[in-house]
Amino acid sequence: MENTRSDRERAMREQDRRIKEVLEGIKSIYLVMSGKGGVGKSTVAVNLAVDLARRGHSVGLMDVDLHGPNTLKMLGLEGERMSSDGSYLIPLLYDDNLRVVSMSSLLESSDSAVIWRGPLKIGAIKQFISDVAWGERDYLIIDSPPGTGDEPLTVAQVITGARGIIITTPQELSILDIRKSITFCRQVSMPVIGIIENMSGLICPHCGRKIDLFKAGGGRKAAEDMGVPFIGELPLDPEIVEAGDAGEPYILHHPESMSAKSFKTIVDKLLSMEKEKA
């Protein structure tokens, strides 16, 4: 018994050492989160990772939505499995600059369900850092499930230096829920970079006029109320849905669309906010 316990303690110390080592090689870490589901976290995380990679940065994308991982599907990497070099898992390569890790690359099929409670989820997320050959990265983008549960909590506690990017739709319900996300960040001492308002109006494909399907301006107001920066707005666009389902990030495949242009403006803003801070 004694032996097993000290073995376990040694393994945990080794894992902590390895986590520290990996994190030292990563310059900026963003946790994409929201209080409400279905507001576009994965879409933002995927397109942010792809756009940063397109701009020449080395990027990692880590999907910690263990129960409903969707990033691989959105990148057209669905069904690909991670391999190992004997010591470390090799992340999937989207292109030369973008490495991706997701639960779905470890599951038997896309219908497999992950039925885990807290401790297993905490262990998996730690391994996503400690056991993966991330290499040196300019950015690590982490896609989180909605809410303030085990997954974002583990990121906050384990991944030193992670900062939150909070996604909301303009609707009041979503705003109420992201206020909880901001409170969460404050309680676990994770800095908030700012809020992105997604699904901010739909341009009618017939008449070209804007329809505020989920109201408008809620994200900006929440940012003011809660004292965090407002990063920008992204419109609702049926092309984004098509692109996500087809595994073709719209930032690359529809670069001239209004959505892609808004997205690039948001990435510009994010990078200039970072430069100002540095």
């Binding site: 589901g37 507001v39 409903g68 909605p146 809410g147 109420l176 909880k180």
Partner: protein, 63 residues
């Protein structure tokens, strides 16, 4: 009868369906209990604005 409203994806309308299902059934004279098990972001009460008549202290062990 116990009905669980669930989904793998967020933002698909679980709360909207649960609340409206409960309300519609209650209009048929059935006695209904609506239990909001979303411990992180409970929103049922925003839709039906109930009068809370009782308050309990609940504790959970922490890690």
């Amino acid at each position: 009868m116990i009905i669980t409203v669930a989904s793998g994806k967020g933002g698909t309308g679980k709360t909207t369906v649960a609340v409206n299902l409960a309300y519609t059934l209650s209009q048929t004279g059935k006695r209904i209990r609506l239990l909001d098990c979303d411990v992180e972001e409970p929103n049922d009460h925003l839709f039906i604005k109930p009068d809370f008549t009782q308050k309990f202290q609940v504790t959970a062990f922490s890690m």
